[in-house]
Structure formats: C-alpha cells, structure tokens
C-alpha cells in the first residue's frame, strides 16, 4: 500500500478528477491553437468547415498559406539564422564556464558563480533595454569621438543575437557543468600517465564524454532563442524574427488561421527538437 496516496475511494476519485482537469487546462489552448490551422474557413473559430492544408500551402488570396507568405518566411529565416548563431556561441562560452567553475579554483569563486546565474533572474525586458541602452551609449560615444558610426550597435540582428546570448549562456553553462561534474577525473589522469598531451586528452576523452550535453545544450539554446520574445522585442530592427512577425500580425490584422498554422508548425518543430534532446540525454543516462 502506498502511504502517500489518499486512502478513501472518494478522495482518490476527486484527486484523479483534479489531475484530469489540470491536464485539460494544459492542453486546451495548445489544441485550440493547432486545430484551426486545418479548418477551411477564413476565421480561426468554430464552426468546422472541413479539413484543408491551404493555411500551410495555399497560394491564392484570401488563403495564402504560411509557406507562401513572404514576411512569415523571412521571419522564419531570421529566426533560424539567429538561433543557430546564438546556440553555437552560448555552447562555446558555456563549455568554458563549465570548465572554469568545475575544474578551477580562484578567488571570489562563489561571488562569480552567483553572477553567472544572475541573468536567469533578470526579467527579459530589462535585459533587452539595458543592452539597448549600453550599445547606444557606446555607439554614441564612438560617433562623437571619432565620427565613425557603428551601425551594428543600433537595433538589429547583432543586438538581438547579443541579447539572447546574454541569458542563454547561463542555461548552457548549467547544463554542461552538470554533465562535467559527473565525469571521473581518473580517466583523464590515466590518459595523461599513458603519455597523452593535455590537448589530446581533451579531444579524445573529455569532449566526447561531454558531447551529449553539448548537443542538448545546443538544441535547448536554439529552441529558447527561436521562441524568445521579451528580450528580442526591445532589440529588434528591420529584420524581425518569426515571433515578432507573428505578434505584429496578431496586433495589426487580428488572428487569422495562418497564425494557427505558424503555431502548429512551431509546436511540432519544438516538440521534435525537445524529443531529440531528451533522447540524447537518455543515451547519456545509459553509458
């Protein structure tokens, strides 16, 4: 008998009922956002007028599908570009941070560790405006001093990348450090005793061991970058990523089924990526 569970039948039924309600609550908006992508109607609402894929592949007005909508496609391209760069950068710096905090001893280590996790508790909007302000200060200073206009420090792709990188690095550092902590240093010592150089040990033993964590950190970083809104909103220039494009459409045009299609696409895409990252971690648990 499980002492943690409620004992009376009535309480057990109530408890199960509560859980069912909770999961309906979790699923309802996602289902609503996804299902109407397939409704053959120009409104994302009931009644159901039959199944269609036009909101994905349609080419004629009023049903221009998301894959023929130029602005949405451009947004998607921008998101992809930003996501890959941000994820790669934050994995590289995250790996350095993991080695720094797991392997090295230095003064003020605990203070610096708190600084490292700090970006997680700063609201995204504030990270966005602070980087916007600082970049403009630098750009203005340089312009007044030398007359050179550092255009990349004005709102645009570069600032979006920097902004997302600033908090994603904390997440990748934590993921990679958690894996590095479990590594048995004796393996490295054995290789060193057998005459391997430090670089060789890193390349043939430590990094392969870390590979699953690096991989899932990359995926997680890409996903969070792709879906980020708050920080991006403050830093975006003319090259808007998908979330910003979609938000603009929602505010200006209202909700059309194209947005349901984008939602469905985002859900399936991030679901698949999350699954890949979970599988990579599962492999990690096996070895």
């Amino acid at each position: 008998m499980n002492v943690a569970a409620p004992q009376s039948r009535f309480l057990r039924a109530t408890y199960s009922g509560y859980l069912v309600l909770f999961f309906i609550y979790l699923a309802a908006p996602l289902v609503a956002a996804g299902v109407f992508a397939f409704n053959d109607s120009t409104f994302s609402a009931l009644p159901w007028k039959g199944f269609t894929l036009d909101w994905f592949f349609g080419t004629t007005d009023p049903k221009v599908g998301m894959f023929h909508d130029r602005r949405l496609l451009r947004g998607m391209g921008n998101s992809l570009y930003i996501g890959v760069i941000v994820a790669a950068l934050s994995v590289v710096v995250g790996t350095c941070n993991a080695f720094l905090f797991e392997r090295k001893e230095f003064p003020f280590k605990s203070v610096l560790y708190i600084l490292m996790v700090l970006p997680l508790v700063i609201p995204g909007v504030i990270l966005g405006i602070s980087i916007l302000v600082f970049a403009s200060m630098v750009a203005n200073g340089v312009e007044n001093g030398t007359g050179i206009d550092l255009g990349f420090l004005r709102p645009g792709l570069f600032l979006v990348i920097i902004g997302q990188f600033s908090f994603l690095t904390t997440i990748t550092s934590l993921v990679i450090a958690a894996r590095l902590r479990k590594f048995d240093v004796a393996l490295e010592e054995a290789a060193l005793n057998l005459g391997a150089t430090r670089v060789r040990v890193l390349a043939t033993i430590t990094l392969p061991y870390l590979a699953p964590a690096l991989f899932s950190a990359f995926i997680v970083g890409f996903l969070i970058s792709f879906e980020n809104f708050n920080t991006t909103l403050m830093l975006v220039g003319s090259d808007a990523p998908l979330t910003i494009t979609m938000y603009d459409r929602m505010v200006k045009v209202g909700s059309t089924p194209v947005l349901n299609a984008v939602s469905f696409f985002l859900m399936v895409g991030s679901g698949l990526l999350a699954l890949i990252s979970v599988l990579a971690q599962r492999q990690r648990a096996d070895d």
Partner: protein, 289 residues
Amino acid sequence: MARSDAGKLSLILLMTPFLMWIVLLIILPQIGIGYLSFQEKVGPRQYVFGVGNYVEFLSEPIYWNTLLRTAWMSILVTILALMIGFPVAYYIAKIARKRSRAALFLLCLIPLWVSDLVRAFGWIVLLRETGVISGALQSVGLIGGPVELLYNDITVVIGLVYTVVLFMIVPLVSTLEGMDNSLLEAGYNLGGTRFTVFRMIVVPYAMPGIVAGCIIVFMLTAGSYLTPILLGGKNSMWFTEQIYTQFITRYNWESGSTFGVLLLLFTSAVVWLGLRLTGQNLASTVAKE
C-alpha cells in the same frame, strides 16, 4: 612548475570569455540603465544629473499604481500556481507508478517548449467573443449572445498561471521525489492526521522546492509581457508594457530606464525577502537543475 604555468594560462583562457560576457553584457548594461535613470532632461539634448525621473514616477499615480498592480497580481499568480501545481507535483512524485510518472512529467513539460506567443494565441482563440468557448456556451443555450471572455483581470491571471505553473511543478517534483515514504508512515503511526502529516512533514520537506518554484514563478510573472498584453488588452496596466511604451513609443529612454531599474529593484527585493524568510540561498535555489 611548467604544469602550474599551464594551469594559470588555462585559467586565464577560461576566465576571459566569462568575464567578457558578464561584464559587457550584464554588469555594464545594468549600470548603463542605472546611470540613464539619473539623467534629467532640461532641454533638447541637454541633461543634468538628478533624481527627477524618480520624482516623476512617484508623482504620477498611474505609474506607481501600475507597479503595485503588477506586484500584487504577480504574488497572486505565484500563490495560485503553488496551490494548483502542488497536488500535481505530489501525484507525479509520490503516487504515480514508475512508468506513468515519466509520462506525466513529460506531459507537464510539453507546454514548456511552446512559445509564450503560441500559448497566448491559443487562449485568444478559446476565449474571444467569436471564440470556441463563447460559441460552445451559445450552442448549448447557456447564454443568448456572444460573450467576450478576454480583456479582464481573471483571464490575465488564468493565462499567467498557465504560463508559469510548470516552473512550479518541476522543482516541486524533484524535491518531493527525495522524500522517503517511511517519514509519512512514522507520522501516521505517531497518531498524526492527514492534515498534520501534510503540514508537519510534507511541507517542511518540500520547502526548498516551494521556495525555488515561487521565486522563478514570481520573476517570470513580474517580467512577463505577452500574456498580460494579449489577454488583458489595452487596460492590462502591466509594468513591462509601461517600459516598452516609454522606450519605443515615446522614445523617453530616461524614464524607461527608471522604470526598468525600479522593476529590477522591486523583484530583487521580493526574491531576497523570500530567500531570507525561508533561509535558502540564490545559487542553490536557481541552479539546482
């Protein structure tokens, strides 16, 4: 000797990216908005150092009312998320059998991977005047005409709880999983009722998870932008919206920075107070996963 030189070199190599990241992207920008918030505009392109922006914030009731409103709604959302999430986390950690445990936990995590925007959009499709729920209520005859369920505080709270409840469940599950059932058994054997066992054993045991969850949820709520604005509409009066308006719409960066500093100070104060009252610390709370 050569070895310690190599050690020093690698320390420097590893420290450089870390310091560049933290100093250039976190510390200096925060100092930047702090500095800007003390710049008073006295004429076109003319500024003097002073607390004018803070005075303006205090003298304009709509500004500090927005901050207070954001604060109490965030606290309300945090409490609701704890109350709604705790039974779910308890079930996943203590009652579900091993296989369904993993499945349930994964189910809980799925919405975590879906963008805020998609979630808010889902609620809009469900709740607006021509939406699914309004339509369903009409077709069963409960209401006569279409009913607008968006743009009120209850909807904003429901949407916010939805957005953040998972961040409450995850730390709770990982804490509760470590609790040994024999603790509960001992409590019952000593004559404890369900309620005393819950209050004297389960809650104290889960405290680190509760604190971690509450902090994350509170920060996320107070800093959220999309959900209050899309579900609350024009009258949502959310503080991050004020910041956006000052920065982008009114191009008043000085007062926007002031608001940013105030939001940061305020949320940090709440988090600090929460940690102090419960005797936890930030590094272990946030970085446990």
